[in-house]
Amino acid sequence: MRLKLKIWRQEAATQPGAMVDYMLDDVSEHMSFLEMIDLLNETLVGKGERVVEFDHDCREGICGQCGMMINGRAHGPLPNTTTCQLHMRSFKDGDTIYIEPFRAAAFPIVRDLKIDRSGFDRVIQAGGFISASTGQPPEANSILISHDVTEAAFDAAACIGCGACVATCKNSSAALFTSAKITHLALLPQGKLEAADRVVNMVDQMEAEGFGHCSNTEACEVECPQSISVLHIARMNFEYNKALVMKP
């Protein structure tokens, strides 16, 4: 198929960017969206132009590296799908496709579709861990935990940190990302001990990074490739309010 692409091109964070038009022929419907951009980049290399830069890694939907706004939606038209798992069969011959980077003040654009998501790393560094002394691995069954709780914790831990929640949020809130980590650890016996400090530190860091507030539109859950539930945000609020009241 033949496509008209409108792609955001930007040299560096400090320089202004703009949408640039490209025509691309011979796109197969079996290609993934990223392979389609690979094809475009090959034609650009042939013409001696700079390629369109974008983040990607595993290309099997589990790493959270790829992510862009496709036709105005995070990761494209399908709900709960990463950009690499979106295939060209979701488009048809003659379509115009708008491709932009995820936008948020806390996600500065590095170049083209590539953004700096290290704000997420700093939120995790602020408390997304447990303090455990290293040494011999303890007997696994010495800590009692039910199957339902481990499953719930794992559902939260499934977040791949792609940033689609921030990109799709009208307030550029990182509440879904942060709450997933907070809930994951708050559910587990090892994480419970530091739950109050963790939630306060991570929420403060989220604020310091310049992410917005959550107004519960629930758009993030729709776009999240891992279907992380918005109820984790409720859980984060619960843990935070508890810390406000109980924390010395």
């Binding site: 307030n171 550029s172 989220m206 604020e207 539109t217 629930e218 776009e223 984790h232």
Partner: protein, 220 residues
């Protein structure tokens, strides 16, 4: 602990839920407008007089004013923070498909409600508190006549209906969002909150919407 958006949201939630509670009392009191006109006049004026002279009601009234102002001020602060957090705008934006429209436009709905409140306060609250209204047969200030005259004008009734529809959508999202900000996370109770929010909004809004229409139709 630093002040952050989550704490602002807690204030939004607290003030919002108080306003929700106030609406219930306001609706119950105003149900007296549905009595036959003569009885309604007597009873409504007596009720207004009862409220005006009660110290507890006066305290609640100050909490009400504070809630309206607080809810508005925190909404403005959060809106300013939000536009900072957004950074550059999308050239092509279809993000709206993944959430309901009223959840994304609480600010717009809130502005409509705020403008409506200015009219509402000016025409009833201000009239009652700060002007010398004529007295009814029992010697109470005749607020009922003010209400009756206001709702005899079709355009005025329409302004009320539009504002109440805006309030309805604001409540529909606001009630549930407030509960979430407070941390209701258990799926069982989350379902209940949604149901209660819908029932609450429907009853409140249909009740209030019926009042101007009822008075208008009675005057024809």
């Amino acid at each position: 602990m630093k002040t952050n958006s989550l704490q602002y949201k807690l204030w939004m939630s607290g003030t919002g839920l108080f306003l929700c509670f106030f609406l219930v009392i306001h609706l119950l009191g105003n149900l007296q407008l549905f009595l036959p006109p003569d009885r309604a006049r007597e009873q409504f004026n007596w009720y207004s007089h009862l409220l005006a002279g009660n110290i507890i009601i006066e305290i609640i009234a100050y909490v009400l004013y504070a809630s309206i102002i607080g809810h508005t001020v925190y909404a403005i602060i959060l809106t300013v923070k939000k536009s900072k957090a957004n950074g550059t705008k999308y050239v092509y934006d279809k993000r709206g498909v993944s959430s309901v429209w009223y959840s994304r436009n609480m600010g717009l709905l809130g502005t409509i409600i705020f403008l409506f409140l200015i009219i509402h306060f000016k025409d009833f609250w201000y009239q009652y508190k700060f002007t010398n209204l004529p007295l009814d047969a029992k010697g109470n200030k005749d607020l009922y006549t003010i209400v009756e005259k206001a709702y005899q004008q079709l355009w005025y009734v329409l302004v009320y209906e539009v504002a109440l529809i805006a309030l309805g959508f604001h409540l529909l999202h606001g009630f549930f969002s407030a509960a979430r900000t407070l941390g209701v996370f258990h799926p069982k109770y989350v379902r209940w909150v949604k149901v209660v929010g819908w029932v609450y909004t429907t009853v409140i809004i249909l009740g209030f919407m019926a009042m101007p229409v009822y008075v208008y139709l009675n005057s024809l």
